[in-house]
Assembly symmetry: C2
Homo-oligomer: 256 residues x 2
Amino acid sequence: MTPKDFRAQISAGEFTNPTAGYCNGYVQANLVVLDKKYAEDFKKFCEINSKPCPLIEMVGPGTSHTSFLADNADICTTIPRYHVWEEGKMIKEVNDITSYYNKDMSFFLLGCSFSFEESLMDAGIALRHVDQKINVAMYDTNIPLKPVGPFHGYMVVSMRPIKASQVSDACCITGNSPIAHGAPVHVGMPELIGISDLAKPDYGDAVEIKDDEIPVFWACGVTPQNALQQAKLDFAITHAPGCMFVSDILNKEYGK
Amino acid sequence: MTPKDFRAQISAGEFTNPTAGYCNGYVQANLVVLDKKYAEDFKKFCEINSKPCPLIEMVGPGTSHTSFLADNADICTTIPRYHVWEEGKMIKEVNDITSYYNKDMSFFLLGCSFSFEESLMDAGIALRHVDQKINVAMYDTNIPLKPVGPFHGYMVVSMRPIKASQVSDACCITGNSPIAHGAPVHVGMPELIGISDLAKPDYGDAVEIKDDEIPVFWACGVTPQNALQQAKLDFAITHAPGCMFVSDILNKEYGK
């Protein structure tokens, strides 16, 4: 199934599930929708916090249709599930945001870790959460984000156990995926970034760390949602976790 | 002082010390000299073990003059000190190998870690052995080399303590220096590569590892000398440790 056909199914209300495992090889993107009055601050926030917030495409105000990640896809209908936020709290999950759309909205599409996970697995680096078909383990940290306007807070990281002999390769490979959170932000020693117990992730599922493995930490796409909560904006929309915008651009093509 | 002037001093017998700290910014190279009958095997050995043996230039047989790393430098006189080997044992240290030269000799110039150490320090990653002006800590490992003809053995690694927050950057930066041993071969967990006590290096000097640091291991230029010892060739010449060939090529230019 091509990404275009997949998005058509989603727009028709025929697919409302997480997008992991669909249209493999194509860039998937997280979504943040804000009133245009916050757009400049949020754009700058993404630019100076580019590991957790890798901005790929900004759409609007005045339109909800993409031009880079896909040719003229309507962001209001082509994501399986959306979260609607008021005053920093998620108040509703919906399958279509057309009824919320207005011409003052700015849409931000941000890179996600699916891109680099594919590269890691292609290089023979096993990912336990993928093998076990569970969610990646994610943790709040004490790594401060660089604040811009109302946007601030701390980085959320994802953790993958990597063999000590493959940590270096994992760093180099993901360093070549700047749109997918890039190289790790921390290697080993979780206590130094404020994580007290790896067995108790703040989001997602815990995984075993074997004797020959080191916990490696990458900036995580949950970070911008946390920054939104901190900012307590009157209104915002995001994708629902795991339910991403599936683009027409191949991971392998991006940036090459 | 330009590398050309520095090499002229060395050829004139006016400089016979280690080359670290001289002509900063320029690629320095290790030397291996073999009879041409071993040249094809050693070349292939370098190619398939490129992290410990990054071959930059092959000179001869029929000449001892470089054409790539420097314009027409005589390798027989432009290195401060050489080691002469017989039957796998170092038998003599000399300042000039002109008297040993014959037209059947092949000269191999191999990259060294000075190139990537400069890049690491430029990126704000401190190197304890440089700060303390001691030799880097080096260890024998159980990581097998891929054998070719008479050449075989195990990899020697150098270890640098790196902050957990900078390990990823250190991997990515050195991964961009393929002529200087490239990205690390192992991160943390020395016992997994046959190192029982980091405080007792097999070569060089021990350094402290602080609480927020991880020992990171890179392939080391001592490896080819160990492979030579294993091969027990009737005759070979190498540079003396620390006394390198100083080239006309800037680290920053190489491969770009």
